[in-house]
């Protein structure tokens, strides 16, 4: 085969194709398009005149001009102020808006009289939620100033969301900082950190029958402190750590056998005590201890097979749950420890909080909440109520819900499917990211690396969640701590495919042709990997849905700076460059107000006065350029839109008039907008240039710059 023969055949086919297509194209269509584009063209063509002299010109005398054009062609020094912004690490979505996790299983409740409090004493009685005291002010002051603990109390009825006041705490109670609460039949017993005033009452009891307070005295209560765990056995209170029990009916204190020696209660692994129905279990940082009424001593049992540092525990339907700060979890039941699989949450330096929601095991960590689903035999990861922010409010478990009572008062109800499995909310955490589960997929299970007795498994920190569709597709979403480790063995790197957060998602493929996709968390901490199997065609479609459903609550938002020039205030995001001088020095009318770009610009040009030719010269594939000029009102016809969009800018633009003023060889493939609008009696002309690969984020920043423009008057 010769090249010329091949070329001739190819050319002939191109001509035949043209002959087929051409009759469907109609010259009249250009008239229609011309009409649509023509309105501004005539007006802005006037601006194409090169004005050589930098003369001072004031436009006056026209009926439609109510504001004079600025009398200088150089941009005055801009004044810069920082735009009040959401604080760093405020959760944002990829578009930069604050995230609301509400709807992902959480509902906002009326905080009523407890709004703004923290570290309250709380108690769930089976039908009502009691709250007493607490602090106002900074939640992070530790310890909070003792005098700030409040005395008032309220009861919340979940059935109607109504708050009702209770009798306030009696005077003379010792400081109730870090309060502890035990429900004892028809009363609620409270105590706290301890004495502040000599002779104060160490513990009090609130009667659920008549709503009155009773001061509790005696040796048992005098030994209580905020670190002492007390368990109610149905007829007496038992405090293992202080070796005492208290019979509620007779009001007598009894000695318990001496608690086995050794560290058990530490700051980060406080001792908890539980009543199993026939015996007391106690566990803190040490081994499990057991004592039954009538026993002459405590039994020392095997400790949980999880590291002892920073762990919490709770008694649940599954037995005793112990979880530590490294996500390790273990259940103790009938004398045997089992590992249900560690929590599918990402590690933060954070203490676990274990709860029992009507017997269902729950653990809250700083990266999310894990709920044990006994039907699926797996942990269900659930987003925090205020994802991205530390939760300082108490986490209170009722019979079917979790309540967070801190800066917000929110509830997560654990709903059940007909088979008893947990209804998974539409958004769940996966590593440091959040995942909006695509429609049509059901949560199957989660997995996490199992921590050894010594702590971390250093080589594999991958956690993941498995989903299935009714059509039989099975998709796995994983998150691995550390870039570059997000794909399982057998996958090799392919090409860049879809974009998420304006970044390319790298595709991977295994020997069977299964396509996976990897996405880095914006903060560089994790990499997510998604792959799907079980579909006859297009395995990657659901994978794309999953990868697109990932978002990061931890991305630091872009800071915006406000600038004033010619009385126009506008904002540009951090990382953009504001031109320090006019890029159109040969232009008098209109006058350049400001120019900004994602790259450094230089002024001038050889072709047209009104187009910053050199300013757009260095625009790269991912860059953006915005320039705003101020001219007489005859330069515009349309009023400023409420919100700028590229669609709004496009029809009015005569974009080729800008392109033709550029010397770049690729000027006809650049995305250019030139538009104008009336704003406050002034005409503003906008030139926008975007590189081919400008991200959605960059494009949205361009529009926000325009939206931010506001006339504030000459300073």
């Amino acid at each position: 085969v010769r090249l010329d023969d091949l070329a001739r055949r190819a050319a002939e086919q191109a001509r035949r194709a043209a002959a087929e297509i051409a009759p469907g194209m109609d010259a009249a269509r250009y008239r229609r398009r011309r009409t649509r584009r023509s309105r501004l063209a005539g007006a802005v063509a006037t601006a194409s005149v090169v004005v050589v002299a930098l003369t001072v010109i004031v436009v006056t005398g026209s009926d439609d001009e109510t504001v004079a054009v600025p009398t200088t062609t150089t941009i005055p020094d801009t004044t810069t102020v920082t735009v009040p912004s959401v604080p760093p690490l405020e959760p944002v979505d990829p578009g930069g808006e604050p995230v609301s996790i509400l709807g992902a299983g959480w509902e906002e409740l009326d905080p009523g009289p407890i709004a703004g409090r923290h570290r309250m004493a709380t108690a769930w009685t089976g039908s009502e939620l009691f709250v007493w005291g607490g602090h106002y002010g900074s939640a992070v002051v530790d310890p909070p100033p003792p005098q700030l603990f409040l005395q008032d109390g309220y009861v919340f009825r979940p059935t109607d969301g109504v708050w009702t006041p209770t009798a306030p705490l009696p005077d003379g109670v010792c400081h109730l900082g870090d309060p502890r609460v035990v429900v004892v039949g028809d009363a609620i017993v409270l105590w706290g950190r301890g004495a502040v005033v000599d002779g104060c009452t160490r513990a009090v009891a609130y009667s659920l029958d008549d709503g009155t307070w009773e001061s509790l005295h005696g040796e048992f209560f005098s030994r209580l402190g905020s670190r002492v765990s007390v368990v109610w056995t149905g007829d007496m209170l038992v405090a293992p750590l202080v070796g005492l029990a208290y019979d509620w009916d007779s009001r007598e204190t009894f000695d318990l056998p001496a608690f086995p020696a050794g560290p058990d209660d530490t700051v980060h692994s406080p001792q908890r005590a539980y009543w199993t129905g026939d015996r007391v279990l106690a566990i803190g940082s040490g081994s499990l201890r057991s004592w039954a009424p009538g026993d002459g001593s405590w039994s020392l049992l095997d400790g949980p097979p999880v590291p002892d540092r920073a762990r919490d525990s709770v008694w649940t339907d599954q037995g005793l749950l112990v979880a530590n700060y490294q996500m390790a979890a273990a259940f103790y039941r009938n004398g045997v420890w089992t590992r249900p699989g560690d929590l599918p949450l990402r590690f933060f330096e954070c203490l676990p909080e274990a709860r029992s929601v009507g017997g269902t095991p729950v653990v809250r960590m700083c990266s999310g909440i894990a709920i044990w689903d006994g039907v699926r035999g797996s942990w269900v990861p659930v987003a925090l109520d205020d994802v991205g922010n530390p939760s300082w409010g108490p986490l209170v478990a009722s019979d079917d819900s979790l309540y967070v009572m801190g800066p917000n008062f929110r509830r997560f109800t654990i709903d059940r499917n007909p088979d008893g499995s947990i209804v998974v909310p539409p958004t769940i955490p996966i590593g440091v990211m959040q995942l909006d589960i695509p429609d049509g997929f059901e949560f199957v299970s989660s997995f996490a690396p199992e921590q050894g007795p010594e702590g971390f498994i250093p080589d594999d920190e991958t956690i993941g969640v498995v989903f299935e569709s009714l059509q039989g597709a099975r998709c796995t979403v994983t998150s691995t701590h550390g870039p570059g480790e997000g794909w399982p063995a057998g996958f090799t790197e392919g090409r860049e495919g879809v974009q998420v957060w304006g970044r390319p998602v790298v595709e991977y493929i295994d020997a069977d042709g299964t396509v996976g996709m990897a996405l880095h968390d914006p903060n560089g901490s994790d990499v997510a990997f998604v792959w799907c199997v079980g579909l006859s065609v297009a395995d990657y479609r659901p994978a794309i849905d999953f990868i697109a459903g990932l978002w990061s609550p931890w991305e630091e938002p872009v800071r915006w700076m406000a600038h004033d020039a010619h009385g126009l205030r506008f904002e540009i995001p951090e990382g953009w460059v504001l031109a320090g001088e006019s890029l159109t020095p040969n232009l008098a009318i209109p006058t350049e107000v400001f120019s900004a770009a994602t790259y450094p610009m230089r002024p001038g040009g050889n072709r047209c006065a009104h187009v910053p030719e050199f300013g757009i010269e260095a625009l790269g594939p991912t860059d953006a350029f915005v320039s705003v000029q101020w001219g007489p009102t005859r330069y515009a016809q349309e009023p400023r839109p409420d919100t700028f969009t590229f669609d709004w800018l496009t029809p009015a633009g005569v974009n080729d008039d800008v392109r033709e003023c550029l010397s770049r060889t690729d000027r006809y493939s650049l995305d250019i907008w030139w538009s104008s609008f009336l704003d406050g009696g002034r005409a503003l002309l906008v030139i926008i240039a975007l590189g081919d690969d400008a991200s959605d984020q960059t494009r949205s920043e361009v529009l926000r710059i325009l939206d931010s423009m506001e006339w504030v008057g000459e300073s």
């Binding site: 090249l3 091949l6 043209a18 297509i21 051409a22 194209m25 010259a27 794309i544 493939s669």
Partner: protein, 175 residues
């Protein structure tokens, strides 16, 4: 205007002479040729149509000026070629994900061998691709290609030689 007329003067399209003719007549006469070259340089039918359409729109919008040119057909071809090459290169990156989702839209129902040829042409540097398209699709000589692209015939020859050499190697055919 016959093709031979277009082979005059390199910058003929920039000369403004006489009164503009009918845009409709110009369009009917040139649309197939312009389409043929945009088809050769784009992968999808809509891209080819779009590039040709945009070029004619620009001609129409400024017909008072373009229509008076000595060689408006060269002007519209150059605009269309620039658009076609630019669009192809941009669309390539945009389409990568889509190509994984579905087979590429059948633009011109090309024969495999033909498509392979044009794929190879599209992979050439921009100017070389344009020279090949004009040479084979429009059957222009070096001077005619130079007229359209606004470059010297000697430059056309250099681009064409390099393009032919690269194509022969990539397509594994005799030059």
């Amino acid at each position: 205007m016959e093709r031979g007329d277009r082979r005059r003067g390199r910058s003929g399209d920039r000369q403004v002479v006489g009164s503009p003719g009918s845009f409709e007549a110009f369009y009917r006469r040139e649309v197939r040729g312009v389409l043929a070259v945009t088809i050769s340089l784009t992968r999808r039918r809509w891209e080819a149509e779009d590039a040709a359409q945009e070029a004619f729109l620009r001609a129409y919008r400024d017909w008072e000026h373009v229509g008076r040119m000595d060689r408006p057909e060269a002007w519209v071809r150059r605009v269309a070629l620039n658009l076609a090459v630019g669009r192809w290169r941009r669309a390539r990156s945009e389409a990568r994900a889509l190509l994984r989702l579905a087979p590429p839209e059948a633009t011109h129902d090309p024969e495999p061998e033909t498509e392979r040829f044009w794929d190879a042409v599209r992979s050439l540097p921009r100017r070389q691709a344009q020279v090949v398209a004009l040479t084979y699709v429009e059957d222009l000589d070096d001077e005619g290609v130079g007229d359209v692209l606004g470059i010297a015939p000697s430059t056309v020859r250099v681009h064409l030689a390099r393009a032919r050499s690269a194509l022969a190697e990539r397509l594994e055919v005799e030059e």
